[in-house]
Amino acid sequence: MSIRRVSGLDLLLAGGWRFYRQHPGQLLLTIAGIALGVATVVAIDLAAHSARQAFDATTQLLRGQATHYLERPGGYINESVLGELRRQWRLPASVPVLERSLRFARQPGRSVTMLATDPLAATRLNTGLGNTESTSARPTLELMAEPGSVLLTNALARELDVGAGDQLALIEPADVMRLTVAGLLPAEEGARFVVADLATAQRLFGRPGELSRIDLQVPTAQEARLATAMASRGLRLQTVAQRLGQFDGMTRSFRINLQALSLLALLVGAFLVYSTVSFTVVRRRATFGLLRALGASRPLIYAQVVLEALCLAAVGCLLGVLFGGVLGAGLVDLVSRTIGDLYLRSAVDKFGWSAFAVFKAVGVASAACLLAAFLPAREASQTTPHSGMQRASLERRRLKQLPLQVGGACACGLGGALVLANTSALEYAFAGIFLVLVAAALLTPALLIVMTQAVAAVGDRADGFWLAYAARSLAASLSRTGPSAAALMIAVAAFTGIGVMIGSFRASVDDWLNYSVDADVLIRVPTALNPSESEEFWARLTTLEGLAGATLSRRTALPDGDGLAGLLAIQSHPQAGRWPKSETPRDQILAQLSSGDTIIVSEPLAQKRGLAVGDQLNLLTPGGTVAFTVAAQFIDYTSELGLAAMDLSVYRRHFADQRIDTVSLHAERGQSEALLADARTALADFAGVQVADAGLLRGFVLQIFDRTFTITEVLRTIAGLVAVMAIFNALQAQRLETRRETGLLRAGGLTARSVTAISLLQTGLLGLGAGLVALPVGLTLAWLLIFVVNRLAFGWSMMFLPQPGVLLQSLVLATAAGIAAGWWPARAQVSQPPAVDLRAA
């Protein structure tokens, strides 16, 4: 395209800008739509980025020059391992760490992370513990000498309004001791945690002898040997970089789902752009015709429309990034807390900008807008010069396009289905879903026409003249309102789909919980239980009142090489238990597990390692490599890294580890409360033993789930908002179209009330129609998210529950929004004399 051909573009754009200024509602709605979409993408990315930094910051403070971390996944390390590392492995730079969360009485709603270590040992790694501002010259020594003394980060001290020398009361763990602030620790802005000596922490949490991890320096030459030796005991050795990667792995499910939803929000925004740009093209048909008559070439007109869309996108992106920052900052807390609940305790509230996230969002949004503007721009450029074409013939042309749209819809739908059926890559799955949604959007005008014809027919038969009129009028104006109706449909479909997905997830988790937490009382057995104590302990257990049976379990890392997955060694009570949840019958599983070197694997593990029933999984034991046969797959949602399970006696035989982590007690019918109470009393004097009500625990997990999905609810609300915007958009277009018609009717004597009623009928029908189309689309979307995306990403199988409540919500939303959107313009219209309407072009 030579410059000569494109010359005059600025003039055209000036005209376009004035046009948008004359339709501020459209302008604002579209920019808002883009902004919301961009904001969602940016917010989610930034919140996840901040959470990652938070994770890093917590470990960074104590990390110093450590090169590795040693931990027992999902459990605690006994501190005797520290002695082993120092003495047998000759690694003097080994530092113990205990990390737990607590809550201060001053701030009951928020939890704070406590990092406890040996300050003496910490000097070996040159950690950041040295930087304290304190009146005393020896704050770290005080930590050791004075039980209960702690250091607070600056930010936390400010939050709690305390300084050196003040005391702090705790509500969690319940009032064991008061803490004294020995000094302040300058740390990253937003970092809020407490540093204490291990003596304080172990006493506070009732965990004598237990550590969360050991930070160490390992020379490269020793690394492999140490890792193997530790893995055979269920301990995982990771480099610093690996641990950060582990964070990514752990939170991948969380992040992917959130990102999928944010992209959906952006898609809805893009549809809004499409509908607005379509509308403006349609409104300016005469102008485009004039320009073409004056000799403006097709590419010039095309460029004008596309550039207008890009300008909208630019403003929308700018606002979206700003709003996304605000939203993200608010989400950081939510995301951090959720990740903290689900995986680990993060300690930084700092919200950090990531240029990458912003550029990505802007890039995707711009591409989406370009794509959205493509069709309207093409239509504009195809305008016949000074078309004397009447609207009716235009409608006829539209109708001719209808088969094309339906054809296109089928093509997209087929393409999408093909992609989804044949792909194992997440990105392609998203692309497939996109195609399916586009197909649905293309079908929407055709479906709406069919629906309105049906309503018109009903109106005719039932002698409802105005109903039929409203329906027909709606159908006739679909050339103008089609794109907006599609946008509305997509938004409502997203609203529905997300709602069904969340509901299905929750139901699946709830159901699975009944299998995996299948006991009445859970008892946590401390690692430091003496042999002498332990005899007494087991004796007391067996004599508890109301006990039907017990399940014993031990959790470590899976010694299969990288030790990332978990291993559960379990002796499940055959009658009283229900674990595991699997397609294979439970009796069969239990029988196979106890009959030899067999193992069952969770779905994510099976997917990751490509394990089918009958395959072999090699595990490294102290006695060498042993091949375990996979007997079945089971459902487990605790980790996407995977979980394997074997019989406890088989485990003991191979791994020389006699410890038990958890005893699950099953009560006789109706005896669960008695069992709980008896357990509490009988085991009260064993240090570190914790007795928990399993029912409460299940409830707690669901609470965490709900909190996790608060974020998706936020997204869902945004989708709903965009839906409402889309419908306003659509109805604005529709109103302008029928204005003249309404003017004629009013001039002919129709009352204002009737005009309003007709308007509401039309807009209500539009909303209802779009809503009805959105329901199956939303259900399909949910189905795809559950069965394709999550299954691809993590291998989980979930139930699909199309909850009627959600469906009803969506219909009500669409229809109510439609009526509401029709109300105000109708009122505005009837407040002016009919002549105004008649003059309308």
Binding site: L82, R86, R90, P92, P96, D118, N131, L141, G209
Partner: protein, 388 residues
């Protein structure tokens, strides 16, 4: 063989411990801790109430007392030795395990980290031919079995440094230490030589005039040893004689003592001589100074401050700390007919650790003829430039 008032030692130790932590964590320089900090903290050093005290002589029982005494405030196992390789290259070594209690014994702690004990260890090797001295210091708390001591069978350890009996008997035992950063390592088997010698009054060693101001003190003055030693790139097979000083107690000190000098000499005629001299501000020996002379059969003769004299003859000034250390001494024990010179085998065996002191291998020369009549170890404290 930290001579004298474990009190001074301990108080200073605790103080410098604190300062050390402060210093190493604030900036990573190896400066000497400023004395103002020391004296500040000295004033607030932990009190001596509640600990067990050495009161009446005769309570030492071996082999039980080889192990730790946690009710006393401080304690050490002090190994020093002179070794030579097959090619007669000579080395000296020191491996000391210290135990300190940061507060008086009380109720059973809820967890191992609440233990009031802190362990410190110094490990040094002197390459005499190479005129080089390397030393490492470590601290640890006994939790996680990282550091500790026990008796029957005997062992004391901190990280991978340890002295451990090979059977139910105290000896033979294995001494091991290793540090990758300074690249020194030691692995010796110690065998029984002379019987253990109780110092002071049947093991009760007074530090001052007040009752209870004393420690329990015994030594194994001559244990034949052989094994391997590593210094830098080279590893050597070595053999020689090792001296162990064992002391534990709870004691305080008057301000009149500035420092002390201690020697443990192993003579070729089979005799072992231990002398410590507590000095006042003028450099004169205080009446608490004392010593022991152990004959070839292991019979001990106690020496009081009037039985011996120690005079510095030559000095060496440390470029690192500016301290002027006496590195050559004239030692006379008239009633035993001993006129000796003790000369530092290497001048710079200064150790600027939690405490600033000089601990090193010395050659023992005949006072008249000048020929070498033995080897030993010399320890000196209290020579800081601005000390009184």
């Amino acid at each position: 063989m930290m001579r004298q008032p474990p009190v001074v030692v301990f108080a200073r130790l605790l103080a410098t411990l604190a300062v050390l932590i402060w210093v190493t964590t604030a900036v990573s320089q190896s400066e000497r801790p400023p004395l103002t900090e020391l004296s500040d903290v000295l004033g607030s050093a932990a009190g001596l109430e509640g600990y067990k005290r050495a009161l009446l002589p005769g309570e030492i029982q071996l082999p039980r007392d080889h192990g730790p005494h946690p009710d006393y405030q401080s304690e050490w196992w002090y190994f020093t030795g002179n070794l030579e390789t097959e090619d007669d290259a000579e080395f000296g070594f020191q491996l000391t395990f210290f135990r300190y209690a940061t507060r008086a014994p009380g109720p059973t702690p809820a967890n191992a980290w609440e233990s009031p004990q802190i362990y410190m260890a110094h490990f040094a090797i002197t390459d005499i031919a190479g005129d080089e001295h390397r030393v490492v210091q470590r601290f640890a708390r006994p939790a996680g079995e990282v550091a500790g001591a026990r008796s029957e069978p005997f062992a004391v350890w901190l990280d991978d440094w340890s002295a451990e009996s090979l059977s139910e008997d105290f000896l033979p035992q294995r001494l091991r230490a290793h540090d990758a950063a300074t690249d020194i390592a030691l692995d010796l088997i110690l065998r029984d030589g002379k019987p253990a010698v109780l110092q002071g009054d049947a093991g009760l060693s007074a530090k001052g005039p007040d009752a209870g101001n004393a420690s329990w003190y015994y030594s194994k003055t001559r244990m034949p040893a052989d094994g391997t030693l590593r210094f830098g790139a080279h590893e050597h097979a070595v053999r020689g004689l090792v001296w162990l000083d064992r002391e534990w107690g709870t004691s305080a000190l008057g301000d009149y003592a500035t420092g002390w000098d201690w020697v443990g000499l192993q003579l070729q005629d089979g005799r072992d001589l231990m002398l410590y001299q507590l000095r006042d501000a003028t450099g004169a020996a205080l009446p608490e100074s004392s010593g022991s002379l152990v004959d070839a059969q292991g019979v001990r003769r106690a020496l009081t401050d009037s039985d011996f004299t120690m005079h510095p003859l030559d000095y060496w000034t440390s470029p690192a700390t500016g301290t002027r250390w006496p590195t050559a001494w004239r030692i006379d024990v008239p009633n035993a007919g001993l006129e000796l010179y003790a000369e530092a085998a290497v001048a710079d065996q200064e150790q600027a650790l939690a405490i600033l002191y000089w601990e090193g291998s010395v050659n023992v020369l005949d006072g008249r003829g000048g020929e070498r009549v033995g080897r030993g170890y010399l320890e000196m404290t209290g020579y800081e430039p601005d000390s009184p």
